[in-house]
């Protein structure tokens, strides 16, 4: 532990790498023991984590509000879908890179008029973008497949993985687990990138632009370029997350990325903690298991899940949580660390003073 700590102060990138690898391995280990349903939920959560990482970077670090990330997700997913439609046998990694590039490109297009805007104008501009994506996908049916959408080939589990995995219903379980593991590894890689980006020169410049753009400009930071870069990176992450999400579900339709998804993303990011890496992961985990959580709450309160109220419980709980978080704990779950640490430190100090007595 001490070695890790000293490593952290000297070789920060290496330490970050070790931490991410350990965390990813831990989650991979866990997937071996989860039922297939939980595995596929986890896969969706990993995809959403990638999107939230980008959103957290954009809102938390560059201070630009975006409600358009579901639109960027749709761009990435459709780029992957259209490519897979014509070129069946492309390796998955190529599809993902393509989705990132197309997502980044759409981010650039939106950023050019948007970076001159602030606060509510920006929120509305990006909102209008994500509202316009669904009609676009519905309209150009020859490319996007219209309402029916596009289909991906089912992910095939490699044989070595199936051998490694021995269960009663081996193929179904192995497929779900392979999907989850793949998604978790991709999320781990993107987490590592974002962790480095947060602490890079660009990341520091971004924070200065957020806190005091005049000072940033005086330091020689190119404001429009920095703001545009924030959008492009967030959109690339969202594009990849969208493509991963579509590949996991093996389909992409206009209704996969509704306007409300942007709101869900924002909720998850705020709940996890704006502008924190761990917050994005917490958000992804909440997304994965929100259905279980809601049915648990339904069971606790005795609400019939098939009733009208039960079906809308998720919206009510999440909306209320979002409001309460913003009003009373704006730093989210990740931000709770600080008061807890302060409390433990206080207790320790209390203990030592008692010992002295």
């Amino acid at each position: 532990m001490n070695q890790l700590r000293s490593l952290r102060s000297q070789e920060t990138t290496l330490a970050r790498f070790v931490c991410v690898v350990l965390l990813t391995l831990l989650v991979l280990f866990v997937t071996f023991f989860l039922p297939p349903v939980a595995d596929s939920q986890l896969a969706g959560g990993a995809a959403i984590t990638i999107v939230i990482l980008g959103l957290s970077w954009l809102i938390g670090w560059s201070g630009q509000i975006s409600l358009g990330n579901s639109g960027f997700m749709a761009v990435g997913a459709y780029a992957a879908g259209i490519w897979a439609h014509h070129h069946n046998a492309t390796p998955l990694i190529f599809t993902f890179v393509l989705a990132m590039v197309m997502g980044a490109f759409s981010g650039l297009i939106i950023a050019i008029p948007s970076t001159r805007l602030r606060g509510p104008y920006l929120a509305g501009m990006t909102l209008a973008f994500s509202a316009a994506i669904t009609p676009l996908a519905q309209n150009f049916t020859s490319v996007t497949g219209g309402e029916g959408g596009l289909f991906f080939n089912e992910l095939t589990t490699p044989s070595w993985f199936q051998h490694l995995f021995s269960g009663q219903n081996a193929t179904i379980n192995a497929n779900a687990q392979w999907t989850a593991d793949l998604a978790v590894v991709v999320a781990g890689v993107m987490f590592f990138f974002m962790a480095n980006l947060f602490h890079s020169r660009t990341g520091r410049a971004m924070r200065l632009v957020r806190d005091n753009d005049v000072a940033a400009e005086l330091m020689g930071i190119n404001l429009p370029l920095t703001r545009t870069l924030a959008f492009v990176i967030a959109a690339a992450f969202a594009g990849l997350g969208g493509a991963l999400y579509a590949v996991i579900n093996a389909t992409v339709t206009p209704s996969t990325f509704p306007l409300t998804l942007s709101i869900t993303l924002l909720t998850l990011m705020v709940l996890g903690g704006i502008g924190t890496l761990s917050g994005a992961v917490i958000g992804g985990i909440i997304y994965s298991f929100s259905a279980n959580l809601v049915s648990h709450i339904n069971a606790l309160t005795g609400v019939n899940p098939a009733s009208n109220l039960g079906a809308n419980m998720q919206g009510i709980i999440f909306g209320t949580l979002l409001i309460l978080t913003m009003l009373f704990a704006p730093t989210g779950i990740a931000g709770l660390r600080r008061p807890i640490r302060r409390l433990t430190k206080f207790r320790r100090r209390l203990a030592t003073t008692e010992n002295v007595k």
Binding site: I59, I65, L67, P113, R116, L117, G119, P120, Y121, A123, G124, M125, L127, A128, F129, A131, A132, P135, L136, Q138, N139, V214, L259, T260, I263, L266, T267, V270, I274, N308, L309, A311, N312, M313, Q314, G315, I316, F318, G319, T320, L321, L322, I323, M326, L327, P330
Partner: protein, 298 residues
Amino acid sequence: MANFLASQFMHNIFSGLAQGVLYSLIALSLVIIWQSTHVLNFAQGAMAMFATYLGMTEIDRGVGYWWCVIISVIAGVIFGGLAERVLIRPLYGKPEINPIVVMIGFLGVIEAVATAIWTSTTRNITSPFSQIYFHANGQVILLSPFVIFQIILAIVIMLLVAALFRFTKLGLQLRASALAPEVARLLGVRVNRMLTIGWMLSAGVGAVAAVIIASGTFGLFPTNMDGIFVAGFIAAAVGGLESPIGAIAGGLLIGLAEQFILSYWSATLAPLGGLLILVVALMIRPQGIFTKAVGRRV
């Protein structure tokens, strides 16, 4: 004349204007809130929808249409005041993302609660005005008594709001507390109360728009205001968020643009019209077309 009124061009003008006045009303209500508290209320449409449900379901109990309208508007006004007091007041002076996020959360709660109570099926409300289009020499003119009522009511509401701000003592106090809160407070204006009244007024205007929309062919369902809110916001942003005239003009512009795209290009692409107008308008003048550019003090 009848031929001209029944032409495709005039069809588009009539439908565009009818839709545009609704966008204008929503845009106007957003501008009122923006002027008084510098908050963009993302739950504006949903709050109006909920108020409309509260009033309009009274029809089932045999209450007359106009009483239901009044109940809806009063519910909207109370709702607006409560939202400002409970949700927005603790957030003054915080980063501008905080009220936006809170109102987005509120939007989610309202829509979920409305779906839980009234289900997501569309409810059609019979208004006292006919929806059947006029005819002239056997040709259809895209105007019905209801559409005329819709346009006239919207104009009346806009004039009332304008008169309130321009000619009454309350309007003067509202403008004063928006423009210079400290000075207004020193001169004896209860600024906090003015902020609440601004929200109540805005929610009332929004409720009127929602009632008209619910009574028309669009019907009432829990998410029926989503698209209209986006269009109304775009209208307000094109006008500059500060200017009521700009909001109204922006609303009409968006309504007409959507109608012409729908007519000459594609029905599904109509929502793109708003986005295109917004991009072009913001590229030319990032602070909106109808507002003076304000230099930021360093």
